[in-house]
Symmetry: C2
Subunit: 588 residues, 2 copies
């Protein structure tokens, strides 16, 4: 570990020395240390270095100066040494696409949670916070990226808002994004999910695409194929994490896309895609988690768990580890990383075991990762602490007037999937209002606009939660992140939504006037101020409270959070009302 | 073929429309054409598309808009069509490292000579012209790169002059190179051949390396290994074309270098390195020609001949073609090329046959390559037409005074290699001067400074040419490009050198007062103003004339040209005198 004093000395040098001279001095030291003429900053002794090129091993020391590896395949001396004890060393893992917000913790806490799993580079799309706070949210992540021990890279959210059928907190046009294009932590444009806009040549979409030609444009094209896929790719889009079958992935690979195999908390594609990771294709495949919550990270792991499962399903270790490092680095133009070799970025992982990818310890940017390192990071002020702006909410706000039409459309949730079914039901009427009918597993759902813009509330019914009493609410509601609430009665729904307002965002389980469990998410209504360990415990409380109300879903809050997402079929709900994704229109 | 009128219209549009709007309009068209809703600019029908990913084939049309492929794996209509007749289509080849000057023709003529061999991207180092003209020479190549049909990319010459033991026409420091760093055709810093300077941390070297950190720095590290290789790599150097054995290449690969297999006219490494091109390593290997003369290009081909021979030696076709395209593109950060797929640069080669790599035709940047296209290029004024500045040369200038020491050091040339031996001989003395002794295959050699700086002449003896009469002279003399002359008598040497002065550079064979054959190379004394076909014929005349004088070497001019190169062991000669490379000092 480099001490805090070292870091301060570095900072001092930075202030007093021109950049060019600093680089020259660094190079002089790196070269001399690589030759073994001067001690390195850090030497990892007794490493069993694994090659993601050909799967070979070599017993060696690894010498590091600053953020750079300067020596392998030899013996070295260093100011600091770390005995690998014969452990296998592989390049640090790259999560090629994820939303940090889905971890429910701040970027610095995400760093502390995920880096110990070997993820030394995370390429994030701050799409959620951008929908709430706009550029301020993206800047928050860029500020965070200068503090994290992992290398947090940012793709600029390309589609905010996702549609015009919801009220978001912000709108990002090319004029907003362009000033950030050349930020050193920015890679390019994030997942271009508005593929209808690409295909139709929407002028605002073309302006965004035009500004990032020659740079990186991340793809997001579920089920797109044939000539429409060609049209999408002709726009210069190069990666995709939305392939869900091997056949879909193979077409995309054949058309030059790098496929990012995704395994999130909800969307899980690893089993279906494992077969594409062949020796020939390993250079064209990366790994990503997209959305993974802290419980899954605790229970399964992160990119490390994906490597383990891919090898378990027959991938050669060099192919799985190459996809997790070098291949992803090339796909995103991160040419300084992905191999453990002299001149490359000192991101590496010590493993107890290659096949199970059991991470023993991690070196990120030349520094061994430990709690002291996390504690020494410069603090980062949270943003968006007053982002939940709602009026006075009462039970009356959720009332659905009875009409002559007796049959009502019902959103059918499917356990573990974000796609929904379009169902219908005949529901009881009381005092001139249609009410929930837990007996037929159909309760009320509402989305409350919370950006202080319209105060709109969309109302409808949902089935599949199993909820018998009370309500479940969340200020995480993809992609505009209005408050989504599901409840067996209007009073419980009002209690839950009001509590979210008081918490300035969060997850709440309520029954009648009482709050049964809660997690505050005051950073833009999306992320906690607490540690990931605390969030994990609180999430378990929330699940238990939901279960007590009869909820049968394993991930009730994720399922609530995806009910408002109007780009995923078939029936959804926004603050403007029920939304028929297939017709791409609000339900009258 | 896009007509000249089309090109003029394009140019017109460029003048009248802001760039962003042009890009948007291009994207709209590319997307629509990719979807098959509008005709593409060019459609290649009946192609058998070969995948450098996995070696599979697919029968398809290939649709192109502007410089970009917009559709594969489907049927398309286009304003222009080109029937591939079932021929195999592969990505355009990348020559990952070469000196255009070695072709002896201008960059535009090189384009016309080499592009039909499928080389759609050539990454050149204008090291030779830079040694004569400095930045003006590099700018000449950058100007050429805006005119060639191939994509000519430039690495900035890093080591001008190569040593302080020779007089070059120019000296390039970081302050000269830095203003060109961000030129759109510049990749980075060219082959860093001053590896002693890197290893010792020479301040001027560190300044150059520092300025290109984060960009590309090309390597040149013959025989460097172990910790010294680590030190060299710690400087951020990433590629090498100087490995001459498989063992050397394997160490460099294991240490993260991309190995460029080289097969030039003199340095030929393909046979020795073919075995490293395995399926696992194909992503980390590129191909290059370095120095190839027009006779070899005519007789053997260019990168196409390397692919043919690699496959002939057992490489899988997908590995050979991947190395020649995608792998090289990744190594140099050219992320827009290397695959035939929608969104990628429309550089592709139609082959009569995959295994023999017989090129049928070429599409470069979306345009089918033909003579009309070459003829329509904007002309480029030659530079350095008066670069040969020498005084009056007479036979006396080559006189070597006899001294008490009877035995003289002699440079021993080795046929087909640029390395020389250090020999010695006892030579006849006439009129107080030591003279050549063709009977023991030892003749005189001299290097005449020709940049108008010192007028210095280095004199010595050389064996191995077989020369019995007359002289051979060249204004190509690596790396400072002074005039190097080898001769059996001083009068012939003077005639040859004087004629080079009159021609403003060239190759000359002379005997007594008469010039027997000559090739004028008036562009900086390095390149011809003629077509490559004419140069080829003239070179054959020159070879015949050299043979007539008794010369037994297959490549007499290349061997003359490398005699002054003071960085290649063992005994060399510069305008300052005989140079002992092993001691890195002039011979007293």
């Amino acid at each position: 570990m480099r001490s805090l004093r070292c870091l301060q000395q570095d900072a001092e040098r930075k202030r007093t020395m021109p950049n060019a001279t600093m680089t020259e001095q660094f190079l002089r030291r790196a070269i001399a240390a690589g030759r073994g003429l001067e001690p390195a900053d850090l030497v990892i002794r007794n490493a069993r270095l694994f090659s993601v090129m050909d799967g070979s091993f070599v017993d060696t020391d690894i010498a590091i100066v600053g953020e750079r590896i300067v020596g392998t395949h030899g013996r070295y001396e260093g100011a600091q040494t770390l005995d690998a004890g014969g452990r296998v060393v592989v390049p640090g893992f790259i999560d090629a696409h994820l939303h940090v917000e889905s971890s429910l913790v701040s970027p610095l806490e995400f760093d502390r949670c995920v880096l110990p799993h070997g993820v030394t580079t995370a390429i994030c799309d701050p799409h959620e916070i951008a929908n709430v706070l706009g550029i301020e949210g993206i800047r928050y992540f860029l500020d965070a990226s200068e503090r994290t021990l992992m290398d947090l890279r940012v793709n600029l959210s390309s589609c905010v808002p996702a549609t015009s059928f919801e009220t978001s907190g912000a709108r990002l046009e090319i004029a907003d994004l362009e000033p950030l294009r050349d930020h050193p932590k920015v890679i390019g444009l994030a997942e271009f999910m508005n593929f209808p806009g690409v295909l139709s040549g929407d002028p605002a979409v073309l302006a965004k695409l035009a500004a990032f030609q020659g740079g990186h444009i991340d793809g997001h094209a579920p089920l797109l194929s044939g000539l429409d896929l060609n049209g999408y790719l002709a726009a210069g889009i190069r990666t995709d994490h939305e392939a869900t079958t091997a056949a879909e992935a193979r077409e995309k690979l054949a058309k030059g896309m790098t496929i990012l195999i995704r395994e999130g908390s909800v969307s899980k594609d690893l089993e279906a895609l494992a077969e594409i990771l062949t020796p020939d294709m390993a250079s064209f495949i990366g790994l990503c988690t997209d959305d993974r919550n802290p419980l899954d990270i605790a229970e399964e792991g992160h990119v490390d768990s994906m490597i383990r499962r891919l090898i378990g399903r027959g991938a050669r270790p060099q192919d799985a580890y190459r996809a997790a490092s070098w291949s992803a680095a090339m796909a995103f133009g991160l040419r300084d990383r992905g191999l453990v070799a002299p001149g490359w970025r000192a991101d590496l992982v010590l493993l107890d075991d290659l096949e199970s990818c059991r991470v023993h310890s991690v070196v990120a940017g030349g520094r061994p990762v430990d709690e002291a390192g996390f504690a020494a990071r410069a603090p980062l002020d949270p943003v968006g602490l007053e982002s939940v702006v709602i009026g006075r909410i009462s039970a009356e706000d959720f009332r659905i007037e009875a009409s002559r039409a007796n049959e009502r459309p019902v959103i059918g949730v499917v356990a573990g999937r974000i796609i929904t079914e379009r169902l219908s039901a005949t529901l009881p009427v009381r005092d001139g209002a249609v009410i929930a009918d837990p007996a037929q597993d159909t309760v009320k759902v509402a989305v409350v606009e919370r950006h202080g813009k319209t105060g709109g509330i969309g109302r409808g019914f949902v089935s599949g939660f199993g909820l018998q009493r009370g309500a479940i609410a969340s200020s995480v509601g993809h992609d505009s992140h209005n408050i989504c609430v599901v409840g067996a009665d209007d009073a419980s729904m009002a209690t839950a939504v009001r509590r979210i307002g008081e918490l300035q965002g969060g997850f709440v389980v309520a029954e009648g006037d009482e709050v049964r469990a809660e997690l505050a998410l005051p950073i833009a209504g999306l992320m906690s101020l607490s540690s990931f360990e605390e969030v994990r415990v609180t999430l378990e409380d929330l699940r238990a409270a939901a279960r007590d109300l009869g909820c049968t879903l394993a991930e009730p809050f994720l399922q609530v959070a995806f009910l408002p997402l109007p780009v995923i079929p078939h029936l959804k709900i926004t603050d403007m009302g029920l939304f028929d994704v297939d017709r791409f229109a609000l339900v009258e």
